[in-house]
Each structure stands twice: as structure tokens, then as C-alpha cells.
Amino acid sequence: MEIAHIIDGSFEGLLTSVFEAYSSRRFPAGICADDGYQLDFGQEQVHIRTDGAKASRVMAGILRKMGAAVYEQAWTAFLSNDATRHIKILRYLALGFQVGRALPDMLAEPAVMDVLELARPVARECNKLLGFVRFSIMENGAQFSEIAPEHNQLPLLMPHFADRLPDVPFVLHDSRRKLAGLHGAGQWRIVVADGLRLPGYSDDELEWRKMWKRYFDALAIEERKNARLQMSLMPKRYWRGLTEMQPAAVGAGCRAALPPESAKLAILQDPPAISL
């Protein structure tokens, strides 16, 4: 009988699943996380208890046998919102344990191509968001931005902004996944954030948005207007967070611009002191 692994949805959980597949010599036909992959009828469910020690052994094995690029590829693919990602990553790594460092070259192998195709849109969206994130500066000096990405981008965005703004406390809120990346005191972490209560904006925050919008409008060359090109490079789903794409009454209609009324969880009242 085919088996399916049930994991907790973490990357360590997935690596533990890989470990169990080898130690039990039974490879799952599917891996189900708590986010939606449907089990086939007739599959035996095996619950995998996430185990840091087993996960580290698998990780060390990947790094030793396949190299850091494969590990990174698997990790990026894991951030995809595709519900079949876990089993695809397992098949990818299983092939890797056979062929070793040749793995990333075997692009004609479905297992390799599948993971490439998972990772590609994640990297593409991350690339867009590195530019499209818009911070607001709050009255307490901290910065806030809301995003709603297709894929789980906080683990990729946080190190970038933490490096770029080392002395600035900031919060990056993924409203789609109800997660928040917190940065302060030289460290960052990602926490579950079901609602946010924000401090007010700094006095000149709206003034800065107007300045930016003025700049944005002044830069376009009338004779070269090309709305289609603009839209294909900056798809509409990002506009909500882009202050310059809001109508002239700056910020109105931009959700990221308005402090949510029904806030549940308070963070950012003070620059977060974070320990990891």
C-alpha cells in the first residue's frame, strides 16, 4: 500500500520526512502539509514528527553530496505556494543522493525540472518585491510595510532589508500568510501576526509620499507612453502596496497606507527588542 507523509509544514519537517523515507525504506507517494495537499484514497498516512537532529543530518548530507547550490534550490522551491512542492523536493533530493553533484545539470530529468520550475517564480517574485516594498516611517521612528505575495517571501526579504537598514527597526507584514518579519537590535525573526496595531505615521510621512508621486509622474516621457509595458513589468497585483500607483489623493485606497481599524495584535509600539 502506498504511503503518504504528513508533516508540520516546516522545512525541517520536510527534511525529517526525507530521513524517514530512507530509514524506513518506504518512499511516500505524497507528502501532506497542513496547507492543502489532498491525500489520495487508499494511502496509508504516516505522521512525521519534526526532528531537528534528523533534519540536520539530511541537510549535511545534501551539502556534502550535492553542494550548496542544490540546498539553496530546494529551499527556494520550498517557499513556493505550490501544494505539490514537498513531494517534488523529496524526489529531487532522492535523485541527488544517487547522482551527487551532477544533479543540477540533469535538466532533462523531470525531478530536476520540477524543482527548477518551483523555484523560478519564487525567485522572480522576490526580485520584484525587493524593489516594490514601500516602507512608511512611523511616529516612533520604526518602519512598516505590508505585502501580500504569492509565495512565502519573508525569509528572502528579511535578510536583504536587515543588511540594508542595519540600524532601523522595521516590520514587514505578509498579510496573506499572517506573518510578520521583525527587525531590530541587529537581528530579525519571523512571527505569526494575526492583526497589527500600528503607531501613527510620522508627521511628514504623507508629504514624502506626495513627493515620490510627483517624482514618479514627472519622470515619464509623454511621447513614449506605454501602459502595456508598464503593466507587464509591474503587474497590477503589486499596485496595492505601491504608493505612486494610487490616485492623486495620495495614499487613499492604498491599504498599506491606512492603519487597519480592527487590529488585534500589538507590535511596533516600541522598536522591537528581539532575541533569537
Binding site: 512608511s136 518602519q143 537598514l165 542595519p166 513627493m211 517624482y215
Partner: protein, 519 residues
């Protein structure tokens, strides 16, 4: 913030918008405690303006007052426009305010010339010093070196900025004299040469002392206006080629001329956007694909085909080299296939070590099949239904192409701007071009290659079908193959001799022009 700052921001942005460069690439610098900002090697686009151009930097002039009177420029002395200036302090404040909010990747600072080139440069340096020293800004800075300024100032500017640029503006000296009487050739070339030398010097210092100050680590770029003067694409591309090769420029930008200064000497009408796009495509072919300007164009055929992209155009004119077998062809040869780019060519070379590649694999690797299928075989097979008949392609492509579809006047025999005393520039290929291995030996890229290409088109079909390797000698090449892998194995040769059928007429003409941003 000063009350009229918004107004001045609008004016000085409007005045800077015709400078096309907005890339933030080329410098890689991590953040640092106590500072703000970092630079990412690939550059980051933060927004896209209504014209579809990437916004990466705060692109602005310090002032749009100008003592010069360049005919093509909106800020020329005789132009009746609102004028404004920013103080170094205001400029630093704007940059930091935008940067912290992640609106921008950095600053692109240029300026009109209010009194003299030197005093203008002093003000710009003042602003950059505030940013780098007082505000501890580690983001990207692109600064314009003002033509005619002293070398000491260029040196100071280069130690503060990531990239420097001097705009060449017009591709020939005659055009420059006519339209920019205050900017001589020397005023442009001298700072460019100085920058090149300083960059080289800084590179060798850094090799010895890791903490030596870096001079313009993201290199030097320039810009040319396209369509304001009758200079041909061939002149433009040859100039770009020499700038890349001799001045080690990182980028040459092309800017379709937009009639902003009505003047008897300037054309009116729509900006030649498609021509600009074709020039960018050719520029890419020269920088990344091992092409030389003289392979793409010649004295006789001196303007780019607007209906076909330059790579397709080249391939159709050199059909004798195709089809190539993707499982065996050199990387340099793969790069020459329309529809295969640098990324997909690399993937092919990696993937074929592990297995024999078919068309489906290529598609997944990102090859643009609608273009590539006419020029390749996979394991000896053509794409199903593809007919390889050069006669049709040839007649369809060559039939009545308008010479100057932009409505430009015929070329008036302008001389190319001479940058390099002693010998015409761009007379050959880029030395580093890897394609020399496969193509240099065949005489492609020499002035008479046009004739060779014509000959290839008239070749009997069967010969073409044998693939690049066997067809090549028909070009009356010396017959030497630079790479051992170039000759197919006997068995493979038979496999390559696929049956040729007349291709559907005009199929290749459906290759669509794609619109891409200039940077």
C-alpha cells in the same frame, strides 16, 4: 522641507528624464553597521514609469540653468522653460528620504552648467560628500562628469560615485559641431579617457591594497541620441563597439530623439522607438553574444532591419550555417541561434552532459521555440513540420524593405566621430569575442561577408540540410575548423541529412517584434 521643494523636484526631474540610464547594477556592497544602504550587483528596479521605463534611481539635475545652447536639449540657454535649483543639503535629504522608504536604489545626479563646468562639478561633489560622509549613505550613486571640467574634479567625483558617465550625445563629430556647438569632441573624450585610466589604476591598486578607495566600481557609461541626425546604425554600432573595447565602457545607452527643441536642423515627428529597440538588441549581441558590428551591418547595408530582430536577420542572411545540432554545437554557436539566449545556452551545455536533449527539453529550458525551431535539430531531427527552404525566407525578407521607415533623410555621408587617432575604430571584431573560434576562421565579420551571405542563400537546399558543419565549406572558407567538435561524426552526418521540403512561405516573418525596456 522647503515649501517649494515639490515644485522644484518636478521641474528638475522633468529636466533629467531624457537621460535614459537608470540602472543600479555593477556594484556589489553589503550594508554596514552605522551606515544606511547597500548595493546589489544585479541592480533593482523599484518602479516602472508610465512609459514603461524602469525607475531605479532618483534621477535629477542639481540645476537646469545652463549656459550652453545644445539644440537637442530641453534645458538649452535659449529654451523658455521654468528654471530651478537644489542645494546639496536638499538633494541629500531627498535621497535619504526616498531611500529609507525603499522608493529608490540610489541617486543619479546630473546638472546644467550654471556658471562653468568646474563650479558645477564642485556643487555636485559637495552634495555627494554630504551623502557619503554625513549621512553614511552606502547605496548606489551614478554621477555625470560635466564635459570640459578639470581632471582633478573627475577624480574626486569618481571616489564618491559608483558609476560615472559622460554623454557622447551624437555619434559623429559633424553632428556634434552642428547641434552642440559648445561641446567639442575633446570636451567629451578627455574626461572619458581620464575615467578609463583612473578605473584601471584603481583596479590595480585594489589588487594590492584591499582597502584602497575604489574609483567608480560600477564603471563608466555613456548615451547617444538616436534619430536627431542622419548618422546610420552602422556608424552608431561601430562607435559603441569601440567604446566597449577601447574605453571599457559598461554600457552605451541609446535615446530615441524626442522633438523637444524645435529647430530647423532637427527632425519632427514620433521618436524612433523601434529603431532604438533594435539598437539595444544589437548592443546586446555585441556585448554578450560574440557578434561584431560588421557582422550585423556594413557600409552598403548600414541600417538595421526594423521588421526582424538583428539576430534573426543575421541568421537568415547566414542560413548556410544552419541548422545546428543542439546536442553537439559549441556554446558560441548555440548563442548564435535565434531564440537561444545566454541562460538557455548555458543550460543546454550543462544538461546535454547528462542526456540527449529533445525539443520538449529545450522548451522547458527557456528556449524561444517559435524562433529557434527554424535553425536547429535535436538528435538529428527537425521540429515536426518544419520546412527548411531558404529561397522563401530570402524572398520574403528581402522584398521591398523600406530603407528608412522612420522617415529619416538618407544618410549624408557623415563621418564617424573619431575617438582614436591612428586607424578607424571598430574595424574588426571584439577581441574577447568567443565566437572567433567558430566564426573568425570563416571570414564572417569581414567587410565582404555580405557577399558570402548572399552566396549562402543561393546554396542548394540539400547542402544546407547537412547542418552548419558540412555546409560551412560552401562559404569558400579556408576549411579549417577551430574546434575539434565542429565536425560531425559520420553517423551523425547521415542523421542530419534530413529531408528538405519547401517551407510555408513567410513563416519566419511572423517573428514578432518584442518591446523591452531600454535597461
Amino acid at each position: 522641507m522647503a515649501a517649494d521643494l515639490m515644485e522644484r523636484l518636478g521641474i528638475l526631474t522633468g529636466a533629467a528624464k531624457y537621460d535614459v540610464a537608470c540602472t543600479s547594477s555593477g556594484a556589489s556592497r553589503p550594508g554596514a553597521k552605522g551606515s544606511i544602504g547597500s548595493a546589489s550587483a544585479g541592480g533593482i528596479c523599484h518602479s516602472f514609469a508610465a512609459d514603461g521605463r524602469c525607475i531605479s534611481l532618483l534621477k535629477i539635475l542639481m540645476t537646469n540653468h545652463c549656459v550652453y545652447d545644445c539644440k537637442y536639449c530641453a534645458n538649452r540657454r535659449s529654451s523658455d522653460i521654468p528654471r530651478a535649483s537644489l542645494s546639496p543639503d536638499e538633494l541629500a535629504e531627498l535621497t535619504m528620504g526616498f531611500y529609507r522608504r525603499n522608493y529608490i536604489e540610489g541617486l543619479f545626479l546630473s546638472s546644467g552648467i550654471e556658471k562653468s563646468p568646474d563650479s558645477t562639478m564642485e556643487r555636485m561633489i559637495g552634495a555627494l560628500e554630504l551623502l557619503r560622509r554625513r549621512d553614511r549613505f552606502r547605496g548606489y550613486i551614478h554621477a555625470k562628469a560635466i564635459p570640459g571640467c578639470s581632471e582633478g574634479l573627475v577624480t574626486r567625483l569618481g571616489l564618491l560615485a559608483d558609476r560615472l558617465s559622460v554623454n557622447i550625445e551624437l555619434p559623429s563629430e559633424k553632428s556634434l559641431k552642428l547641434l552642440a556647438p559648445n561641446k567639442g569632441r575633446d570636451a567629451v573624450i578627455r574626461p572619458m579617457r581620464h575615467i578609463r585610466e583612473r578605473i584601471a589604476q584603481s583596479g590595480s591598486e585594489l589588487a594590492v591594497f584591499r582597502h584602497a578607495p575604489a574609483f567608480a566600481p560600477a564603471g563608466q557609461s555613456t548615451q547617444m541620441i538616436i534619430g536627431a541626425t542622419p548618422d546610420s546604425d552602422f556608424q552608431i554600432l561601430r562607435l559603441s563597439e569601440s567604446l566597449y573595447r577601447k574605453f571599457k565602457l559598461k554600457r552605451v545607452f541609446y535615446s530615441a530623439y524626442i522633438p523637444i527643441g524645435s529647430h530647423a536642423m532637427l527632425p519632427l515627428g514620433q521618436p524612433p522607438l523601434l529603431r532604438e529597440h533594435r539598437l539595444y538588441q544589437s548592443d546586446w549581441l555585441i556585448r554578450f553574444y560574440g557578434f561584431s558590428a560588421s557582422e550585423l551591418l556594413s557600409e552598403e547595408n548600414s541600417n538595421l532591419n526594423l521588421r526582424l530582430d538583428p539576430k534573426c536577420n543575421w541568421a537568415v542572411n547566414n542560413l548556410g550555417l544552419f541548422p545546428i545540432e543542439v546536442n553537439r554545437a559549441d556554446y558560441e554557436l548555440l548563442l548564435r541561434v535565434p531564440g537561444i539566449g545566454v541562460t538557455s545556452a548555458r543550460r543546454i551545455v550543462r544538461a546535454r552532459r547528462a542526456s540527449v536533449l529533445g525539443f520538449q527539453d529545450l522548451k522547458k529550458m527557456g528556449v524561444a521555440m517559435k524562433r529557434a525551431v527554424y535553425f536547429i535539430t535535436c538528435a538529428g531531427q527537425y521540429w515536426r513540420g518544419i520546412r527548411f527552404d531558404e529561397k522563401n525566407i530570402c524572398s520574403n525578407l528581402l522584398a521591398g524593405l523600406p530603407q528608412h521607415p522612420d522617415g529619416l533623410p538618407e544618410a549624408l555621408g557623415y563621418e564617424q566621430l573619431s575617438l582614436f587617432p591612428g586607424g578607424p575604430p571598430g574595424d574588426g571584431r571584439l577581441d574577447s569575442a568567443g565566437a572567433r573560434g567558430a566564426f573568425g576562421a570563416l571570414g564572417l565579420g569581414l567587410p565582404d561577408s555580405a557577399a558570402g551571405a548572399q552566396g549562402a542563400l543561393a546554396m542548394p537546399g540539400a547542402q544546407a540540410a547537412l547542418g552548419a558543419q558540412t555546409a560551412l565549406p560552401a562559404l569558400s572558407a579556408p576549411g579549417t575548423f577551430a574546434t575539434p567538435g565542429a565536425l560531425p561524426a559520420p553517423g551523425a552526418q547521415a542523421a542530419l541529412a534530413a529531408r528538405i521540403e519547401p517551407r510555408a512561405s513567410g513563416a519566419i516573418l511572423r517573428i514578432a517584434a518584442t518591446a523591452a525596456p531600454p535597461n
